[in-house]
């Protein structure tokens, strides 16, 4: 039986997330490290106001998740697999030893900045539940135009798929999905059309930056966002970290794959429990818990009991 750590992406952030991290020396160490690298107070990143910027959001996600994953490590719990969703991939890459935390902070900051600059307004994402990826692909392909592009993006569960693109295009797809009987079809509160070809230039720039970063062979397999494969090769991880921003995250397959590889306990790093909620539905045969919901001590207890 194997253990996986999962790292959440955007949408999981919340006000005060860095202030409410579990009390553990390893957590404080990571916060201190972040403070040194970023030359400022990290505790200003997680205010409501600051979290309006995707840069603060992504940095906060990285810091929070890495801080807690290091607490597990300090307590002697090492997972068998690490998987992150979108921005969460950087936390996963740090966890599995492929990328240094300090390098990750720098790349994530750049990632946020590039995304913010790419499409200042008129773009975003939506989410459809009740249809599979194939159906959403069909609807989006029929509606997308040069003027109002819209693409299917993240496949979060068998029946939960996001779309990314121009707001008018997204609205049309949501309308169409609603008419065809989707359970829900909603606009998300994000201003960047992530995980679709519109962000190709962001991916390219990130790749240029990552080319100068030391990416190592991971100590444990890293789940690739774009390919939904377990990666053990540093170059493949580098590509995944750069290009996941312009490709769909195949979370549904990633979580299934972890399970097929023998994972029976999945622990979600903070903040939130978005991935845990998805995993519980997709993986009835495994146990999914989140540090935010269950607390660090309980998760540590479970992990230790599980690994013994």
């Amino acid at each position: 039986m194997k253990l996986a750590f999962v790292f959440p992406g955007q949408g999981s952030q919340k006000n005060g997330m860095l202030h409410s991290l579990p009390d553990h020396p390893a957590v404080l160490e990571v916060l201190q490290e972040a403070r040194e690298v970023m030359g400022g107070n990290v505790f200003t990143l997680d205010t409501d106001k600051a979290l309006k910027s995707t840069v603060s959001v992504q940095l906060s996600l990285l810091i929070a998740s890495v801080a807690v994953s290091k607490a597990f490590k300090a307590e002697g719990v090492m997972p068998d697999f690490a998987a992150g969703h979108s921005a969460g991939a950087f936390g996963a890459a740090v966890m599995c030893g492929a990328v240094d935390f300090t390098d990750a902070l720098e790349i994530v900051k750049l990632r946020g900045e590039l995304m913010e600059q790419a499409f200042p307004s008129g773009y975003g994402m939506g989410v459809i539940t009740g249809f599979d990826a194939r159906t959403v692909n069909e609807i989006a392909a029929a509606i997308s135009s040069e003027e109002y592009p819209v693409y299917p993006s993240n496949i979060n569960a068998a029946d939960q798929v996001t779309i990314s693109g121009s707001i008018p295009g997204i609205k049309k797809v949501l309308d169409q999905a609603g008419q065809r009987g989707a359970r829900t079809a909603e606009l998300l509160n994000v201003s960047v059309p992530s995980h679709c070809p519109l962000l190709k230039s962001v991916g390219d720039s990130l790749y240029d930056k990552l080319a100068s970063v030391n990416v190592r062979v991971p100590a444990i397999p890293y789940a690739g966002n774009r390919t939904a494969r377990l990666l053990r090769d540093s170059e493949q991880i580098r590509e995944d970290l750069a290009f996941n921003v312009s490709h769909p995250v195949r979370w549904y397959e990633i979580s299934s794959l972890l399970c097929e590889h023998g994972t029976r306990l999945l622990i979600e790093m903070p903040p939130g429990n978005v991935l845990t909620t998805l995993n519980k539905r997709t993986l009835p045969g495994a146990r999914s818990v989140s540090v935010d919901e269950n607390g660090l001590d309980n998760c540590l207890f479970l992990a230790k009991k599980f690994c013994s």
Partner: protein, 548 residues
């Protein structure tokens, strides 16, 4: 003449003897020391060998599969694996590590995404996807194994094996290798001086190894009655009334869904109220389903032959020897091959459920992007052309007066018109067709072909497909019970009325069933605890099914 005499006719045996000779460094008898299993496998198996590994959907030779995955790919490579079920991570790890390259299998449900990915990534070469009986058959024809890796409960020093209730496919795999100069290695949970009974004679076995922990065994056929819904109860009432009673079905196989569990639990209540005891459901080809306990206890069931055991049912089965096949020691004797054959030829009816059905009645459980294979359902879910014996139900399927007319097996598909998540079950085109192209299969992976299906049951009603005499009529009958799915919306109200009058479809009210009567209170047991009570407390459910 001279040349022919020089040829050795014992090359397989000679190769085996060479390998056995090399084992002398590891053991002087039949027992391989637990810690030396990897070394032993590297000695006994050769690159390119065909290796049949026991791993069906219940019992797994988990110690041997884990050991094989630890072999050195420089010593062991290019193996051709034959597995009825690809269930455990290491079953595919051996391909990732370069130990094996080709696979022939039957079912890969628990590893279906990885199978599809590895095939796409060129990490394994696929032989064929089979049904169980086909795969077992090929072990004796063109997939004769060089090595068999199997699991048993106990062995004695002579290599005799005791498998207890979980005999399953072990005898078949052992026979294929053991009688073709192949090598048979059995993992056992323990060595003992005296076996409760001998399930496989020691002379068929070359080596025994005591596993570090007992083989993996899944309670796959336990359905908690708590999860049975009113709709499933309605469908179960329709099946009992409109199929079992109507055709006098006395011998059958059930799938593992909640809808068939509902049927089992309605026999002592609803079935009893219809006065059907003794008239239907007397002989079963079925695992020891806990949900069958109330029907057994109420005297409905004369016999049950099992593919495998079921965790927790051991004591109950041993205490009901009139019903189950048991050994001298009293415990269940299962046999997957024989039970599959019995389910193919000797039962009147197969009932299963499906994820997708097209307008011609073809059904599939394929999900795009995954490769799950078939298992045993197609063996039972078809009309075996070789059947010659008659029974009331079989003869009842005869629809013409041709002097050569014969009966037919009843193949029933039960499905709700929509799956969870709003996915219609009745579709224009099966995902299996797309999967054929995605994966590059020679044929679309259809589970049950429309031509074999005699009845489809939904919450709307029953379509008596065996009565239809044209494809058009067949489509109409299916559309009439397909609800508001894309196929159902095609139905024509007038045509439906006509089909109803002619008995090609039946709605619940036509069968004397009031939809409002379909309530969970009809279930003979509403939860696992009540099954335990029915069993005289002999059934011992695994922890995950205990809520008390």
């Amino acid at each position: 003449m001279q040349a022919a005499k020089q040829r050795s006719w014992n090359t397989r045996l000679e190769a085996k003897q060479k390998r056995l000779e090399k084992m002398k460094g590891i053991t002087s008898n039949r027992i391989i020391p637990t810690r030396q299993i990897v070394e032993a496998l590297e000695t006994l198996i050769m690159p390119g060998d065909r290796v049949v590994l026991e791993g069906n959907n219940q019992k797994q030779a988990s110690f041997l599969s884990a050991a094989l995955a630890q072999a050195d790919p420089k010593k062991l490579f290019d193996l051709h694996m034959i597995m009825s079920s690809i269930s455990r991570p290491e079953h595919l790890d051996v391909f990732e590590y370069g130990i094996a390259s080709k696979v022939d299998f039957s079912y890969a449900g628990p590893q279906s995404l990885r199978m599809a990915q590895m095939l796409e990534d060129g990490k394994l070469t696929m032989g064929e996807i089979h049904t169980y009986v086909e795969l077992y058959g090929r072990l004796f024809i063109d997939l004769i194994p060089s090595v068999a890796l199997v699991a048993a409960d106990k062995a004695d020093s002579e290599g005799n094996l005791y498998t207890g209730p979980n005999t399953e496919e072990t005898p078949t795999l052992v026979e294929a290798a053991g009688f073709s100069s192949g090598i048979v290695i059995a993992q056992v949970n323990e060595l003992t001086d005296e076996l409760p009974r001998v399930d496989i004679p020691g002379s068929w076995i070359d080596f025994v190894v005591v596993a570090d922990k007992p083989y993996q065994l899944e309670p796959l056929f336990t359905r908690d009655p708590r999860h049975i819904t009113d709709i499933q109860i309605l469908q179960a009432m329709m099946v009992i009334r409109g199929i079992y009673e109507k055709h006098g079905v006395k011998s059958l196989n059930h799938g593992i869904g909640y809808n068939t569990a509902a049927i089992e639990l309605l026999l002592p209540t609803y079935g009893e109220s219809l006065g059907l005891k003794g008239k239907i459901c007397r002989h079963w080809a079925l695992n020891p389903h806990p949900t069958l306990i109330p029907a057994i206890e109420s005297g409905w069931v004369e016999s049950v032959h099992c593919f495998g055991g079921e965790v927790g049912m051991e004591k109950y089965v041993a205490a009901r020897r009139d019903v189950f096949f048991t050994g001298h020691d009293g415990s269940l004797r299962s046999n997957r091959t024989l039970c599959q054959l019995a389910g193919q030829y000797a039962v009147d009816l197969f009932v299963g459920s499906s994820l997708q059905i097209d307008e011609a009645g073809n059904s599939s459980t394929v999900t795009r992007g995954r490769l799950a294979g078939f298992g045993g359902a197609p063996n039972m879910g078809h009309d075996p052309g070789g059947r010659r014996h008659s029974s009331q139900a079989w003869l009842d399927m005869m629809t013409d007066t041709d002097p050569l007319a014969r009966g037919r097996k009843l193949v029933v598909q039960v499905a709700e018109t929509f799956q969870n998540g709003n996915k219609p079950v009745f579709v224009e085109s099966l995902d299996a067709v797309g999967a054929k192209a995605d994966i590059g299969l020679e044929t679309a992976p259809v589970m049950i072909y429309g031509q074999d299906v005699t009845h489809i049951v939904t919450e709307e009603g029953i379509a008596y497909l065996y009565k239809t005499d044209s494809m058009e009529e067949r489509r109409q009958a299916i559309a009439a019970i397909a609800g508001v799915t894309p196929i159902g919306l095609k139905h024509d109200v007038r045509a439906t009325e006509k089909l109803r009058r002619e008995g090609l479809i039946a709605l619940p009210e036509d069968l004397g069933i009031r939809r409002t009567d379909a309530k969970r209170s009809l279930l003979a047991a509403k939860n696992v605890e009540e099954l335990v009570e029915w069993s005289d407390r002999l059934y011992e459910p695994p922890a995950k099914f205990r809520s008390w």
